[in-house]
Symmetry: C2
Subunit: 378 residues, 2 copies
C-alpha cells in the first residue's frame, strides 16, 4: 500500500472517523484507524463497536487529483498518534507507505514518521446493511432535530432505553422523542422516501451527538437506512453506523396534556434571561428550582430563594396571560434547555395547574414541543 | 451604603479582584468581595491572603459620571454570586443598597437581587506599604518579563523557594530568573527609578501569573514597591499586593556556561515545529525526550523513538553550525517552552557538550536567555 495525498483531505477525514474511536475500548485494534486503498481512493474507518464511521477520499474531486495511488492495500494505524501527526505535517502533500510487518512510513517534506501498524484483516467488519428502504432528510434539518431532542435523554443507566432518542417513522412523517422522565422533547418533520415504511427504533443519544458534530449546515440530503439493530446515515463521502438500543420505548403520547388552564405568550429571549438570572441563586439549592407566578396586567414574576445566599425576584411583561391564576415551581435547568432548543422569537406555554406537566411551543411552529414536569415546593 | 453605577465598570472591577479570590480558603470572609463607598468612588477588594487586589472605580472618569453616590458605607458580598449576578444584569445601570443586617439589594431594570452580606469591619486589612522606593516598568514590558520566566518555576513543593521567580534589582537593572533545576529562564530589563536601590526577592509564580492576566498591553507605567515581605504593583485604578517567598534563592549565575563547543543558528519557527512533531511520539515515553544531531552542511537532525508506537526523524536546515559535532538529548517540552518564550525570528543555541547545560538566545537580543539541562539516554 502506497499513496500520495493532499494533506487537507486526509486531516478532515481522520478528524471525522476519530469521532468514533474511543481510547477506552476492550478491543485493542479499535484504538486504531483502518486505511484501505483501492483504485478509487482511500477509505478510513473508525469504530468503538457502538458507532462506526467510514470516510472515503476519492482519488479525484471535481477534476482535481486528491490521491495518487501507487499500490493498493490496507493497514490499521494507532488513531491518536496518526491523527496528531497528520495535523502537524509540514507540507501540503503526504506520502504514506506500508513497509515490513505493517510498519507504515508517513512522509511530508523532510519529516518522516514510522508508525507500528496492524493487519487490517484483524479489524472487525462493519455491519452489512442492505439499502432497500432509504429515506432522506437534509443535513441542516437533521442536525436541528438532533439538537432539539438529544439534550433531554436520560444520563442515568437505571432505564437504559431512556438514554436513547425514540425515532418513529410513519409514512412521510418522522417523530423524534427524548425524555428522562422529568422532561420531554419532541420534534416532527417530513421525510422524503419512495415507499411508506413504518419504524419505531431507539438511537443512542451519544451516537446522535457524535453524528451532529460531523454533519454540515448544508441542505444536501442524508440517506437514512434503518434495520433491526442498526441505523446508517449516509452523506456524500461518509457512512455513519450506530447500533440501536434494545427494548421498547415507553408510550409518551399520553404524557402530553391536551387541555390547558393557563396560557402564557412571552418573548423567548426576555423570559430566558430572567430564568437564567433566577437560576444563579437557585443552583445553590438541591433542585435548581425557580418559581413562576402570574400577576395582573400580563406580568409574570420569576423568583428564587436560597436562604444562605439571598433571593431574587424579577417581573417579565408577557404578551398575554389567559385562564386561571398560577403559581408553579420548576427546574431552571430544564426550562433553560427547553428554551434554547426552541426556535423563533415568541413562545406559548400551556399550563394545566401547578402539579401537572406543562408544554412549551413556539407560536409559529407546531412541529416542536417541550414538556416539563413541575417540582413540588411546599 | 447606596449607589448607582455603570454596569460595565462594575463588571470589569469585579472581574479584576476576583483573580485574588479563592473558593478554597480557611478564612470564610475571604470568599467575599469587600465594597467600600466614599465620596470619591467605590473600592472593591478581593484576597486569598497571599494575593490581594484592590480596584477603585472613581465617581467620575474623563468627565463622565460613573458612580452616583447616595450614601457612603461598606459591606462584604459573596464573591462568586456577586460576580455572576453583575455580569447577567439586564440594564446598563445598577443600583446597590445595603439594608438591614448587611442584606444588600442589587437592582437593574426589573430584576432585583438580595444578597446576604457581611460586616466589612471583619475583613482582614491589606498590608500597609510605604511608597518610599518606587520603580517603574511599562505594562507591556512587565507582562512580557513575566511570560518569559514564570513558566520555568518549579511546580513541586520539595523546594518551595523554586516555585517563585527571583527578582533582583541593582541600580537601574532588573533581572528575573526562574528555574525548576532542570531548566532556567532569565530576562533582564532597565527600570525607571529615582534612587538606585538594590533588592533580591522571590515572588510566587502564581502571583505573577495572576498579575499578568490583569495587566493590559499598553506602555503606561506600573509602579512597583518592594518591602521586606510584600511587593505592590500599582496601575491607574488597581493595587496588586503579593506576599514574597521566605528563604534564599540559589545563586544561578554559576549555572550559565561562559564558553561553548558547538554553536547553532536556526530559524525559530522551523526548529520549533520540528521539535513539536518529534514530541508527538516522545510524549509516550516517560521523559518526552527528543534527540538532536548535527550533520554535515549545516543540517540538524531531530529524532525521537517510542518502540511501542514508532519513530520520527526530520532534517532542519540551520543557518550555521560551528564547532564540534554533537549528539544530544533533551526534554521536548522544555525546549518548546523555551522557544515559545523567546521573541524574534532567529535563535542561537550554544552547546558545551552532550552532558552540559546549553543556552538558547535570540540573535538580536541579549536580555533574555533560556537554559536547558540535557538528558542522558544511554
Amino acid at each position: 500500500m502506497k499513496f500520495m495525498i493532499q494533506k487537507d483531505y486526509l486531516v478532515q477525514s481522520v478528524q471525522d472517523v476519530m469521532k468514533a474511536v474511543s481510547s477506552r475500548t476492550t478491543i485493542p485494534i479499535l484504538t486504531g484507524i483502518k486505511l484501505v486503498v483501492n483504485e478509487e481512493g482511500v477509505t478510513l474507518t473508525g469504530s468503538d463497536s457502538d458507532v462506526s464511521i467510514e470516510s472515503f477520499i476519492p482519488s479525484e474531486d471535481e477534476g482535481k487529483e486528491i490521491v495518487e495511488i501507487i499500490s493498493t492495500g490496507s493497514v490499521v494505524l494507532p488513531a491518536r498518534f496518526f491523527s496528531e501527526i497528520v495535523k502537524k505535517l509540514p507540507k501540503e502533500t503526504v506520502e504514506v507507505e506500508v513497509q515490513n510487518h505493517f510498519s507504515t512510513m508517513i512522509r511530508s517534506g523532510k519529516a518522516e514518521f514510522n508508525l507500528n501498524g496492524l493487519d487490517a484483516e484483524e479489524y472487525p467488519h462493519l455491519p452489512q446493511i442492505e439499502e432497500e428502504n432509504v429515506f432522506k432528510i437534509p443535513n441542516d434539518l437533521l442536525k436541528n432535530m438532533i439538537r432539539q431532542t438529544v439534550f433531554a435523554v436520560s444520563t442515568s443507566e437505571t432505564r437504559p432505553i431512556l438514554t436513547g432518542v425514540n425515532w418513529k417513522v410513519d409514512g412521510k412523517e418522522l417523530t423524534c422523542v427524548a425524555t428522562d422522565s422529568h422532561r420531554l422533547a419532541l420534534r416532527k418533520a417530513t421525510i422524503q422516501s419512495e415507499n411508506d415504511s413504518a419504524y419505531n427504533v431507539v438511537i443512542p443519544g451519544k451516537s446522535l451527538s457524535e453524528l451532529s458534530k460531523i454533519l454540515d449546515d448544508s441542505n444536501e440530503l442524508v440517506d437514512i437506512v434503518i434495520t433491526e439493530n442498526q441505523v446508517l446515515f449516509k452523506t456524500k463521502h461518509l457512512l455513519f453506523f450506530s447500533r440501536l438500543l434494545d427494548g421498547n420505548y415507553p408510550d409518551t403520547s399520553r404524557l402530553i396534556p391536551n387541555e390547558s388552564k393557563t396560557d402564557v405568550i412571552v418573548n423567548v429571549k426576555e423570559f430566558l434571561q430572567s430564568i437564567d438570572r433566577a437560576s444563579l441563586l437557585a443552583r445553590e439549592g438541591r433542585n435548581n428550582v425557580v418559581k413562576l407566578s402570574t400577576l395582573s396586567d400580563g406580568v409574570i414574576e420569576i423568583s428564587s430563594n436560597s436562604p444562605e445566599i439571598g433571593k431574587v425576584i424579577e417581573e417579565v411583561q408577557s404578551d398575554s396571560i389567559e385562564g386561571e391564576e398560577l403559581k408553579i415551581s420548576f427546574s431552571a435547568k430544564y426550562m433553560l434547555d427547553a428554551l434554547k432548543a426552541l426556535e423563533g422569537s415568541m413562545i406559548k406555554i400551556n399550563f394545566t395547574g401547578a402539579m401537572r406537566p406543562f408544554v412549551i411551543k413556539t407560536v409559529e411552529d407546531d412541529s416542536m414541543l417541550q414538556l416539563i414536569l413541575p417540582v413540588r415546593t411546599y
